[in-house]
Subunit: 148 residues, 3 copies
């Protein structure tokens, strides 16, 4: 099944992405790699994970950030089927200084990519805690994908 | 107009960069990509953005960090005109835990790259808040550029 | 001397790496680049650098994280001699907000890579302080290597 079909079968709604909140672009392609700018979840998904926000809530936010990246990919490519491999994910959590469960949060995005792309969705990853994130969002995802 | 001409027209002074402050090099080229090590502003540009340092001050610091990256590029390449595209910028702000305006700070670097390289300066970007930065600097820029 | 011989001569013991602690893989190759997931030191190497943990201790932890990356490389490639160049290191320190010596900590990994690979071990690098790291580890290393 193609990625474009799978997104329909899974009933995944890919959001429209807003314009970049700074002087940059959503993605740049160089050779066979597409570098995607960091993307967060919805504006309402703010707070410190480990204090105001639970791991379960932040998991959903990381999934939403991943959906925003799928939206960028679909805008940049003719089809999500052009994605050959999700190469690398940098998952950033806006957490308290003693938070330890960044991997469980970023699984929200990783699980989505593997649902979507199956074997091609398995990626190298770093999941870490930031001091702060733009607009106070709970999580942000940056990624690199290999494209056809 | 070439990038080398533009830097003169804009009256931009590219600083001499000091030796790396650790066991690493300023840049590594692999294929058509040049990976540049993280660079900060001047030594005197220290403090926490959102507390000791304003967004406007940190914007200038991010611009200075960008100038330092231009200096690295010029040292590595025969000319800044060898830069085909600024692919990716990682902008890191040494901020308080509740700081939310990282994109406005990192625009200091992004605006510079677009002044310098025009369309080739438009880059994918992540702008985030770090827990701490080397020497207490306010901002640090890492980037990847495609070269001829 | 080959990297495989050097690791023996130096008496370096490369640890067995545990399974990823999340829905990701240790490494993804695309073209001639191998992207390695972030790796930390041993589970017991936890705490905040600048408070509970000294720079000297954290240097050793960064070295152990680097050994874990060597282990990943050896598992992914037929031999460490397949490493053409260590391109980029992202060194992340779990530090107090006023910590300033991230480069001295991450040298633990950089020194190891240069011992191992000599000229091919010289890499671009960013060494920064995170708000928090998974499991409370003191340091984490992510890297990109060019392979044969």
């Amino acid at each position: 099944m193609s990625a474009d079909d799978r997104i329909q079968e899974l009933g995944i709604k890919v959001p429209l992405i807003p314009k970049p909140g700074g002087n940059y672009v959503h993605a740049v392609r160089t050779g066979s790699l597409l570098y995607l700018s960091g993307k967060g979840p919805l504006d309402s998904a703010t707070g410190k994970v480990g204090a105001d926000v639970s791991v379960e809530q932040a998991y959903e936010h990381a999934r939403t950030a991943g959906l925003n990246q799928l939206s960028v990919m679909r805008n940049e490519l003719s089809s999500l089927d052009e994605v050959v491999r999700v190469v690398k994910v940098l998952g950033m959590v806006n957490a308290t200084p003693d938070f330890e469960q960044q991997p469980a949060v970023i699984n929200g995005c990783s699980d989505l990519f593997i649902e979507m792309f199956a074997a091609a969705g398995h990626h190298a990853r770093t999941a870490v805690g930031m001091g702060s994130l733009p607009g106070g969002i709970t999580a942000e995802i940056e990624c690199i994908v290999e494209v056809a």
